[in-house]
Symmetry: C3
Subunit: 153 residues, 3 copies
Amino acid sequence: MSSPSERLRELGLTLPPVAAPVAAYVPAVRTGNLVYTSGQLPFVAGELPGTGKVGDAITLDEAVEQARHATLNALAAAAEQAGGLDAITRVLKLTVFVASSPFFTEQPKVANGASLLLGEIFGAAGDHARSAVGVSALPLDAAVELELLVEVG
Amino acid sequence: MSSPSERLRELGLTLPPVAAPVAAYVPAVRTGNLVYTSGQLPFVAGELPGTGKVGDAITLDEAVEQARHATLNALAAAAEQAGGLDAITRVLKLTVFVASSPFFTEQPKVANGASLLLGEIFGAAGDHARSAVGVSALPLDAAVELELLVEVG
Amino acid sequence: MSSPSERLRELGLTLPPVAAPVAAYVPAVRTGNLVYTSGQLPFVAGELPGTGKVGDAITLDEAVEQARHATLNALAAAAEQAGGLDAITRVLKLTVFVASSPFFTEQPKVANGASLLLGEIFGAAGDHARSAVGVSALPLDAAVELELLVEVG
């Protein structure tokens, strides 16, 4: 059994640096053995790969890719509080907000971008409860925002 | 005092089977004495009773009914992790997402469909914190999606 | 070091009375040392200061002010379960739903109204994880709804 950080490396992925806190909020908090992340946008090296609503300016495939980037950002935030990626013993809950045109109803396919990546990294410990909803607009006109609740050993 | 499962029977209701997991997510997870469900749609025997936005293709009454169905699905998912419906000692938090036309602002009335049913089944142990919001679109064009956080004895 | 209730007084603010429960839900619940609030609207003395979508009928400045009012209502609800404001030892998570026109993407600035107030009242213990999203409609056509998760000593 390889560790989550080994699997991440095998996938050719790295955790990005955690974005600096803005205003009076922080990327993640820990209480007991739970870590809650803030809502994460799909920043890649400080830039959003695309903006707009899914089903309109953003395609399903682009949204899936954004969900993967946002997941890496969420894991980076959680890992910082947990004491490293391998200190995360389980993924409990994923909430995915998809900026959606009223006609776009494939939010689960977008969220699968996040869920499948969590499975690849954590195996069975990545099995999580999930909600995926379509919202009217997201910060900076991002297409995806997601938050994680994880358990720490 | 009758048990939650007795009250469910007295109401003429049964818990539906739990839908099979899709992708790398599961219907509910347990950590300590908490169970988080995934967002539940109002499936009845594998079918959505109606699709579209509330205040547009879906009426308030239809949405209330959908909230009741989604609640039964959420309880089924939670009960499976808890070890049965009667192992749920308290309902803590309900989050209700209502696919809403911009002019529909009676999300609390839709959410009452869920809240009142939880009260009927759990009595005072069903008193929960709740958020109800209107979103632009939901998976499969469902009118209601909701998630539960419950406490296990 | 002044206490949260002293800082609230220094800011010239008071916690409003907690609104009476409606249907089978309550303003906040406690489990272990966590308190979850219901979604709070920006009621001031029982009235919403304005209604409509931000970026349309409601300006950014008005929405920031509404976020502050909703925060006071959330703290009142949490304090009642915690045994007073000063029994809240940490703010863990803030979720802010902003009723948004599809073109309004400054949800973080609206949420800062809540985050900064939490920082003013709790200092470093107010550092929280946060999600801010734009939704299509909120109860009673409110512009802002928010919920808090806090830790009790």
